[in-house]
């Protein structure tokens, strides 16, 4: 049975992929090894996980202006996430996602973190402002 989550704001093309759900905020600078695409911050809920090709589900953004360039760089290195699903974000995440042509959403009507588990398949439809848990 699929569940639909409505989002407040969204940008980009529709994509389908596997979720990596985080319990806390995320910053490409604070939490990620940007050479390998692995989350390396000691104690992060996704420590040791790769972000490559996955839809990151993130409650909040941390910091930082690094995301402005970092997502574009990760894309060229072949280790970029497929899309970003935020509870609350800061503008850098949007600026970085648009430069990297990476779909991004903000806000959710139902608690996405309660509904989405790491490994779930998601469809992100920015035009319809919808996330479907397949």
């Amino acid at each position: 049975m699929s569940r639909v989550i409505h989002v407040l704001r969204a940008w980009g093309r529709s994509v389908e992929g596997e979720a990596l759900a985080m319990k806390e905020g995320f910053s490409p600078r604070y939490d990620l090894n940007r050479t390998t695409g692995t989350i390396t911050r000691i104690g992060h809920s996704c420590e040791g996980q790769s972000i490559r090709g996955r839809i990151l589900v993130i409650p909040t953004s941390k910091g930082g202006v690094a995301g402005g360039w970092a997502f574009y760089d990760l894309l060229e290195k072949g280790i970029a996430p497929l899309a970003l699903v935020f509870g609350k974000l800061n503008p850098v995440m949007v600026q970085g996602a648009i430069l990297a042509d990476m779909p991004i959403t903000e806000g959710w009507t139902e608690d996405a973190l309660a509904l989405i588990r790491t490994g779930d398949r998601l469809r992100i439809d920015p035009a319809g402002r919808e996330i479907t848990v397949l």
Partner: protein
């Protein structure tokens, strides 16, 4: 979004490919946030170094450099990832990346960017006035501009600040709008704040549990007029832990003559009381890990001339202990002044390494540098730094300035 005739001309490519790309990007970002228009800016601060841009960003910037793109407003650059100084062997960057970084600097200069390489532009380069719209690309600079000057800017990451510098405009959303600047969290400061690290600790207490770009804490109870360096640490920490872009300090910052004015009718969503015990609990929450080689770092943001003066006095006649490395970062302007004033000589003779034009957590190849040197703990009086550097797998510890100096000179982790 409503665009002026000139903005439409840019968007349609009538003013060249670079301006077309820049404004098209700004319109996309503005639409996401529901911006109604672009607002003219007077100043931009760009963040672009090879460590964070990578080859992708480098190639992207080369396109603008090749088209001879120029900034329309006075623009400076943020701290970089390399210090271009071979004398500090333990921090060697990758030679190939060093060549690219030098090329990035030269492209920025060609774009009419003053490469001040500083994250404290608000102390040393440009101080915007109340209500002045700017586009600054470093979180610590943004929160200082909004809060202490009453200027108006969002976080402008990566290409965003370059686009603003070129078009001389930025989308009017977020902190460019009056209603977004009103307070939303009430903070009562009962603690006595004696050290720069205490101000950073306050930023962590408020920021960490309330991560929200649009949250604006209002601090009451400040007893003594805080110095610029204290507000720098508070802002950098709130931005780092809370992703926040503005705070009010009642009776101190320009948009907060009273608490009522700071809140402007917006309801406080939560109230936080900070006591001396709360501050001590922050310091107690850090644990040293077992390790023979460790670093003490004064950085994040770069140090002001008064911080350099203070550190020189604290290190005078002392020596950094075996097994410890100690680093200080500042910008070129303050480095030159500190050289002239003799502060650098004092620090060098104590075995302290002073880096210019960089911030410690931005350094290229940091994960490898940490491993090569076998560094385990990173001790700092900057609450921001102990948060931002963690992807490189340091065990980080926040300590007051005097404790940091003591740890550096005795090697005793306490």
């Amino acid at each position: 979004m409503q665009l002026t005739a000139e903005e439409l001309a840019m968007l349609h490519g009538e003013q060249g490919e670079s301006l077309k790309k820049a404004i098209a990007f700004q319109v996309e970002v503005g639409r996401f946030f529901g911006a109604q228009r672009l607002v003219p800016i007077t100043n931009a601060h760009v963040m672009g170094d090879i460590e964070v841009m990578g080859d992708a960003g480098f190639g992207f910037l080369e396109g603008f450099a090749a088209r001879k793109a120029q900034c329309r407003v006075p623009t400076d650059s943020n701290a970089r990832c390399m210090h271009f100084d071979d004398s500090i062997e333990c921090l060697r960057p990758d030679p190939a990346e060093e060549g690219k970084e030098r090329r990035v600097v030269s492209m920025l200069r060609d774009m009419r960017i003053a490469t001040t390489d500083t994250c404290i532009n608000y102390q040393t380069v440009y101080q915007p006035k109340l209500g002045e719209h700017v586009a600054w690309g470093d979180t610590g600079t943004v929160i200082y501009a909004n809060s202490v000057f009453g200027a108006r800017t969002n976080y402008e990451g990566g290409f965003s600040s370059f686009a603003a510098a070129m078009t001389g405009r930025t989308p009017a959303y977020g902190f460019h709008l009056e209603e977004v600047r009103r307070g939303s969290i009430a903070v009562e400061l009962r603690a006595t704040l004696r050290d720069l690290a205490d101000w950073g600790a306050v930023g962590k207490i408020v920021g960490h549990p309330n991560q929200d770009y649009l949250a604006v804490p209002v601090f009451e109870g400040v007893r003594d007029m805080p110095l610029s360096d204290a507000l720098k640490q508070l802002g950098a920490s709130l931005a780092s832990y809370g992703s926040m872009a503005m705070f009010h300090l009642v009776g101190v910052t320009p948009e907060a003559p009273t608490a009522a004015a700071a809140f402007g009718g917006r309801e406080a969503t939560s109230k936080i009381v900070i006591t001396d015990d709360d501050l001590e609990a922050v310091y107690r929450s850090y644990r040293f890990a077992e390790g023979a080689a460790n670093v003490v770092v004064f950085s994040g943001p770069q140090l002001s001339i008064f911080e350099m003066q203070d550190l020189a006095a604290r290190f005078a006649g002392r020596k950094v202990a075996g097994g410890m490395h100690c680093f200080v970062t500042t910008n070129h302007a303050i480095y030159s002044d500190a050289e002239r004033l003799g502060y650098l000589a004092t620090l060098r003779s104590a075995g302290v390494n002073v880096l210019q034009g960089v911030c410690f957590y931005l350094l290229q190849r940091m994960t490898d540098i940490r491993a090569e040197n076998g560094w385990t703990n990173l001790v700092s009086n900057s609450a921001k730094l102990v948060n931002t550097i963690t992807a490189h797998r340091f065990n980080t510890v926040l300590r007051r300035t005097a404790d940091c100096v003591e740890i550096a000179c005795t090697g005793k982790l306490a």
